[in-house]
């Protein structure tokens, strides 16, 4: 294959068979024997640390004990009762910092532990996979309450909220600007983590009935919250963070400079990976899971070199150590303590990215040192964080660029609740932008909404 000095961007860098392998299940499911052995390693802890560590509070010891007695139905019920997107979370949760990180079998420095947690994520997948395969009806819709709730956003928070509301008999209409429901599970998570899964899960979730999906392109630009709040008995806003932060440096709009989330979405929606283009030399800017996912997927599409540049040290990256190690093992170079200064073009295309070294000064502020370096690049993927992208929502009180909600997920507007990545919770200011947290937000908001709706009835 010939190499171009500039803008070496093309498709089919790898044979089709190789691409298929590269984007298939990164962690194949356990078979029944492996699951039994894995389940038998669980100590069935009292007041188990894994459950405490799970944002949705799944009774992990209980579902694993069910598995150990070959009762997948009860296991699935336990998981999905607490987390209706338990199938996705089994695949995308950073378990190493949540349940598995808390597993007593880790026990750093404790001679009795083995530094080897119970495979909770894999077991959760084993416990739930059959539910989607069989589209098993584990939940039933409650008797019609006569109430209607609008949910904005068909991502994890919106879906979780809708399902809980349906269980309580409320009719739900979910509005989403994308043609497929699922939110980040469908458009934003690395393909090899959730191959062909998001739609099966959503289909199963919706099978409870009473939930209608409404495709509304440009939703965030056109939504009229006050009208909606008047029309429906309640509104739940779960639009996520669809806007991409800009670097505001020279060359940002050169061909070859892309948003990582767009790249990942293209990849997820691609019917034929051999038609997807990728640069030969890729630079990824950012330190979160989106940056890692974009870097690894570039490599797996056939990029020759992929360098992930982050403005702080490894320990500050929001991507976990596990994710960082995975990226390194995939051949991604991780380069900390540098921030982009400009994108340099040649022949009207990106050819280099100039970085400035960074450090933390005496006041703890991140500052540039003045020293710089350049990396050749055909492609630069920006993954420096997302932001709320919905002008009409600005009529809600915001905090740190997100919708401010109280402990019951109520916004400043009566009849409107919010949750998921778009919401800042006064009750839980450190709440993280994770799928599992979004599910918990949706679940809790649904409880609050249900309480409010029933209160009206009395």
């Amino acid at each position: 294959m010939t190499r171009r000095a500039v803008a070496d961007i093309e498709a089919s860098r790898l044979p089709a068979e190789q691409l298929r392998t590269n984007f298939s299940d990164v962690a194949p499911p356990l078979d029944s024997h492996q699951a039994l052995i894995a389940a038998q390693r669980c100590f069935y802890c009292y007041d188990a640390p894994c459950t405490i560590a799970c944002p949705t509070g799944i009774d992990i010891a209980s579902f694993i004990r069910s598995l150990a007695t070959e009762d997948r139905r009860s296991a699935a019920q336990t998981i999905l009762d607490a987390n209706i997107l338990g199938g996705s979370c089994a695949r995308v949760c950073p378990t190493e910092v949540l349940c598995e990180g808390a597993c007593v079998r880790n026990g750093a420095d404790r001679p009795g532990a083995e530094q080897q947690p119970v495979q909770i994520g894999a077991l959760q997948r084993y416990a739930t996979d059959w539910v989607y395969a069989e589209q098993a009806p584990l939940f039933t819709r409650g008797a019609d309450s006569g109430k209607r709730v609008a949910v904005l956003g068909a991502g994890p928070a919106g879906l979780a909220c809708a399902h809980h509301l349906a269980r309580h008999g409320h009719r739900v209409e979910i509005y989403d600007p994308k043609s497929k429901p699922g939110g980040l599970n469908e458009y934003g998570i690395a393909a090899y983590k959730v191959p062909d899964f998001a739609q099966a899960e959503v289909q199963w979730l919706l099978s409870i009935g009473g939930i209608e999906l409404i495709h509304r392109p440009g939703l965030s630009k056109t939504v009229n919250l006050e009208a909606m709040a008047a029309d429906y008995d309640a509104v739940f806003v779960a639009v996520g963070l669809a806007g991409v932060a800009a670097l505001n440096i020279p060359g940002e709009y050169l061909p070859g400079v892309r948003n990582a989330v767009d790249f990942i979405a293209d990849l997820r929606q691609s019917e034929d990976l051999s038609t997807l283009v990728v640069g030969r030399r890729v630079v990824v800017i950012g330190g979160g899971n989106t940056a890692i996912d974009a870097a690894i997927q570039s490599k797996r599409l056939g990029a020759e070199t992929v360098t992930l540049v982050y403005r702080r040290g490894f320990e500050s990256m929001s991507a976990t150590g596990h994710e960082q190690e995975f990226a390194k093992a995939e051949g991604v170079s991780l380069l900390p303590w540098a921030q982009p200064r400009q994108f340099i073009g040649e022949e009207d295309c990106l050819s280099q990215v100039e970085f400035e070294r960074t450090e933390v000064d005496a006041d703890g502020q991140l500052v540039g040192t003045g020293a710089g370096f350049r990396l050749h690049a055909d492609w630069a993927l920006k993954a420096i964080g997302q932001k709320l992208d919905a002008v009409p929502l600005a009529e809600l009180a915001l905090h740190r660029g997100k919708i401010r909600v109280d402990a019951d997920y109520a916004t400043s507007m009566p009849g409107v609740w919010a949750g998921g990545d778009c919401a800042f919770s006064e009750g839980d200011p450190d709440k993280q932008d994770l799928t599992v947290q979004a599910v918990e937000d949706g679940k809790r908001a649904a409880v609050a909404i249900d309480r409010a709706l029933r209160g009206e009835q009395e």
Partner: protein, 424 residues
């Protein structure tokens, strides 16, 4: 190197590890393999009168425990299903080929004097070292008045043992069934009849499990099942108790015992021998892993004996018997308390919930608002439950805290029989 050789009622063997009368000793092919692997002796699978019995297909049921296969094994196989003459010829040949190994022949014939007289002469003619009377088999044969049907009636045990001693010069071992109320009654009867030794335990009556789809017990034979004989690691504690009971019974104290029941390692064997067994018999462990396990059993026992300074088996056989006593003689003043090694604790909380729900509320779950497990001495009665549920080796230990004094139930003020005890 410790001397593992064994002389059990005149039966000599290079080591005390024998294969019990069971499927592994059904024919020359298996027994030759066993001797090649190093087994000290075998008890040939039980011979009966011709025509031979017929066995069913589907013979074993097993109980697993948290990943461990065959924690207990149940079988519904009967005695040998091969003609008597075939077995006798093979026994003769194998004994000739392996003269240093113990060859004991298990027997089960109807409870008539002639039947026993007749078969004994044929067995003696093979050159076998001894006979073992199968009064234990709890399934199938017992329906025909043999096996445990004999073992459960002390008078029959005594009568048949006496016939055997009358019509044969061979040492006679009576194999006892555990399916009785008090094992000592059977053992006493065997020795009264003249038996040289007893072996125990035979298998325990059991149903392994119920197939919830077939709605039938397992192992299932064409939709139906029957009770079978339970053996394997799960039965060892029952066997240890019965061996100890015979070993310390005034009427049978010191009599030779060949121990059977869940033995699969040198440690199991040493425990039975400490309780008075002069040899041990193995079946389930060999069926689980093959005959090769005897290698580690020999080396393990030898290494342990060397470490303890025991030169020969007789140096430790029966050594634990004096320490098996009645409850009333246990020291009530002895007090221990649980101690949790905080460096080893992995915070699983199992000790807390076990003590909190089912024992004495003597382990806290938090300290200063943090997850922390600690013993409340005032509440701890020293029951050991927490130590047993703790998944970490030696994390919870028991510490002795009493003053070293002695006082048992026989002299305790709460004992209404105290005066009687003092006067007697």
């Amino acid at each position: 190197m410790a001397d593992l050789s064994c002389d059990f009622v005149g039966i000599r063997a290079p080591n005390p590890f024998w294969l019990a009368s069971a499927p592994p000793t059904d024919k020359a092919y298996n027994v030759n393999r066993a001797f090649e692997a190093g087994w000290g002796g075998v008890v040939w699978k039980t011979l009966g009168e011709d025509p031979p019995v017929v066995n069913v297909s589907s013979r074993y049921g097993a109980v697993g425990l948290r990943g461990q296969r065959i924690a207990g094994l149940n079988n519904i196989e009967l005695i040998t299903d091969r003609p008597l003459a075939v077995n006798l010829a093979e026994i003769r040949q194998v004994k000739r080929d392996w003269p240093d190994r113990a060859m004991i022949v298990s027997l089960m014939v109807p409870c008539t004097e002639d039947s026993w007289k007749n078969i004994l002469a044929q067995v003696e003619d093979t050159g076998a070292d001894a006979v073992e009377l199968n009064f234990g088999c709890p399934h199938g044969m017992s329906e025909r008045g043999m096996g445990s049907a004999v073992g459960q009636v002390p008078e029959y045990v005594e009568m048949v043992a006496a016939w055997v001693k009358q019509y044969s010069q061979l040492p006679c071992i009576v194999k006892l069934t555990p399916n009785i109320t008090d094992i000592r009654t059977s053992a006493r009867a065997a020795f009264r009849g003249g038996a040289d030794a007893v072996s125990l335990i035979n298998t325990i009556n059991s149903i392994t499990s119920v197939d919830l789809d077939l709605m039938a017990p397992t192992p299932t034979v064409d939709g139906k099942g029957t009770h079978g004989g339970y053996c394997g690691p799960a039965v060892k504690p029952i066997a240890l108790h019965m061996v100890a009971d015979i070993a310390r019974d005034p009427e049978t104290r010191g009599k030779p015992i060949s121990a059977i029941g869940g033995i699969g390692s040198w440690r199991d064997a040493a425990e039975f021998m400490a309780l008075g067994a002069g040899s041990v018999q193995v079946c389930t462990a060999a069926m689980h892993y093959g005959f090769r396990i005897v290698k580690e059993m020999q080396s393990g026992l030898s290494a342990w004996m060397d470490a303890k300074g025991y030169a020969r088996l007789s140096d430790f056989v029966g050594k634990a018997v004096p320490n098996v006593t009645d409850w009333q003689f246990l020291n009530l003043n002895y007090q221990i308390k649980a101690r949790i090694d905080q460096d080893k604790c992995i915070q699983c909380g199992l000790c807390h919930v076990a003590c909190e729900d089912t024992a004495h509320q003597a382990i806290t779950a938090t300290k200063d608002g943090q997850r922390h497990f600690e013993v409340v001495d005032e509440e701890c009665v020293g029951c050991n439950l927490c130590m047993h549920v703790c998944p970490v080796e030696r994390c919870i230990t028991m510490e002795r805290v009493d003053d070293g004094s002695f006082g048992d139930w026989t002299t305790h003020p709460n004992n209404p029989m105290r005066k009687v005890a003092e006067e007697s």
